[in-house]
Amino acid sequence: MLASDWLPILESHQDELLDEIGLYGYEFIQGGPFGNTLEYRCGAQWLVLEAVHHDGSKKAVRVPVHDRFAQEDHLDRLRYVSNKLKEQDADWFPFFEIEEYDFGSDIDLSPCPVMVMDWIEGETYASAMWKNREDPHELENLDYQLSNLIQEMRDGGFDHGDVSVSNLRVRANGMMMLLDPDSLVHESMELSESLELGHPTWNHPGRGVEHTKHLHIIPFELMKWFNRSLQNNSNLLEQEPDLEEFYYTEYDLKNPYQSQRFLRLMSACNLNPHAFQDHDLIHLMDALEDDFDNIGQHIELPQKKSIEPRVTIEYLLNVQPIKKPHPRQERVKKPKQRVLKPTPFFQEFNRFNEE
């Protein structure tokens, strides 16, 4: 089902649906291209509606566009990932839960899974790069935020199969968040195959469903080297790009050494296209030319930092003997802040730590 099929159905079920999934006092925002439908964001797997409470808080309500993503095995996988994120108190991915709703004869799925997710305000990484294309300092900060996010994801044992400029949101405070739970996997899941291949202009052309590990490596490197090249040459983005084809095309990723776009990146990085050079951008291009299974021969695969598991309230209540029980209170999440801009001292300190 596409957005055009879903919108009238959702409009007619609005009140019952929101109550059924526990969003009391919420309503969907009106909008759409002609202002006479619900406001929405369109994806290949889920249609995202914007629900707002009268107190101003917002939730993303997602209904499946493609039946495959509404099947029970995938929903189990989403629930597992959701619990893992909750266990780790992850702040790089929005919290989400799977609910159900019966649309009756209006759609074939009965009951239909409905995903309720924290609404993430902010612009896409694509939009942030376009707006700041002539500000190397801001681009550097965005690059730093992305690196931090990816490191946090890796440290938590997660991998993501569709890291792209549209699935990354930059919040007003500069922090970045990743979206699209369908592509999120945890190392403990031990999957035998992936459900999707990610966006074709941000992924290795040789990646298949049999590949289940190191899925974020190539997209991350592609974004990293685009950003760093843009810092040196703002003309890489001459007109506002489309999210569907932000810079690279499928042809570029299949033929990096014949690609004019990679040539422009090399030039921005002061690399000579006719000479052998030991540079990470060249390693990325070599990895794209080689099989997906061999990317570790070109790009250093990440080493996961061991993190101490955080103590949860459930653990404290159920495992530890508690002498004086206190009434259980709703946990107030303390906002964490990443460093927005690395100072030279912290850069040196981090380098020292890595060594």
Binding site: S4, P8, P33, D67, E244
Partner: protein, 282 residues
């Protein structure tokens, strides 16, 4: 067939506006409700244009220029521009120019009416195709990497056309030369009062001179429809050899065929019977 602002897709619609499309047919088997063929085509096209905006062009609160549009009506003695504006020099409009051409619907969820048909006269369909092929040729020069969709909707009484073999050959060659190596789909919906049984997404050359011409002009169904595991479309078996051509389909299938036009442009096709474990790109 991904449409982007860098490589916007061209959607070209050639509509038969002849007098004979004013004939009535049953549009609801259960209630017996009738409408004219012309009205069915008009509603189908308007719905398809609406879907293009909703499903392909609208993102993050703005309408993106991913679809350029040309609509021509073959009617009487001429091929005329089909939208409510002056005919553009290039033969197509960008989305910012065509999206707002329809009057604002009075009711929420009502579909805007870009195309309005008043059946009259004959069907200069060959001139219609020649006009479309010229536009496609110009488009390919300006957007060599873009994909192109041509949709022909007709009740064509081909006996009124001077369809010599030479003309048919010329049409096929002209189409091939203007399209080149573009990602191209030609959907043909043909509703004729000839009483012949329906021919739906045929794999082999059908019988009948005119059916064979339309079969030759139509392209195969888009591969990504089948790559996703579909083996049928609205109950009709399809394969990688199936042509995007239906002859004497019922109202429901004709509507679906027109809708299909709006769904193949961004490669986002509804899969009828996906098999477990198959993949789709976001």
């Amino acid at each position: 067939m991904k449409a982007t602002t860098t490589n916007p897709a061209l959607v070209m619609i050639l509509v038969d506006g002849s007098h004979s499309t004013g004939a009535s047919w049953v549009i609801d088997d259960k209630t017996g409700q009738e409408s004219t063929v012309s009205r069915s085509i008009q509603d189908g096209v308007n719905r398809a244009l609406h879907d293009l905006i909703i499903n392909v062009c609208y993102a993050d609160g703005v309408i993106l220029g991913r679809i350029n549009l040309g609509v021509v009506v073959a009617q009487g003695d001429e091929v005329r521009w089909g939208l409510d504006c002056e005919e553009p020099e290039d033969g197509w409009l960008d989305v910012a120019s065509w999206a707002n051409l329809a009057p604002q619907p009075a009711n929420a969820n009502e579909i805007p009416q870009w195309l309005s048909l008043q059946p009259e006269g004959k069907t200069p369909l060959i001139e219609g195709w020649e006009s479309c092929f010229s536009t496609i040729e110009k488009y390919r020069q300006q957007y060599p990497e873009s994909s192109v969709l041509l949709m022909t909707l007709t009740d064509g009484l081909f006996s009124e056309l001077d369809l010599t073999e030479e003309i048919q050959d010329d049409l096929s060659k002209r189409q091939a030369s203007c399209v080149g190596d573009a990602s191209y789909l030609h959907l043909i919906g043909h509703i004729s009062p000839d009483g012949k049984p329906a021919t739906l997404f045929p794999e082999e050359l059908p019988e009948g001179e005119y059916e064979q011409l339309l079969f030759e002009l139509s392209t195969v169904l888009p591969s990504h429809l089948l790559d996703n595991g579909a083996t049928e479309f609205c109950g009709v078996p399809i394969s990688k050899r199936s042509r995007a051509y239906v002859h004497n389909a019922d109202h429901g299938l004709l509507s679906e065929l027109i809708q299909l036009g709006s769904r193949v442009v961004d490669g986002n096709v509804v899969v009828v019977n996906p098999t477990k474990g198959e993949t789709e790109e976001e």
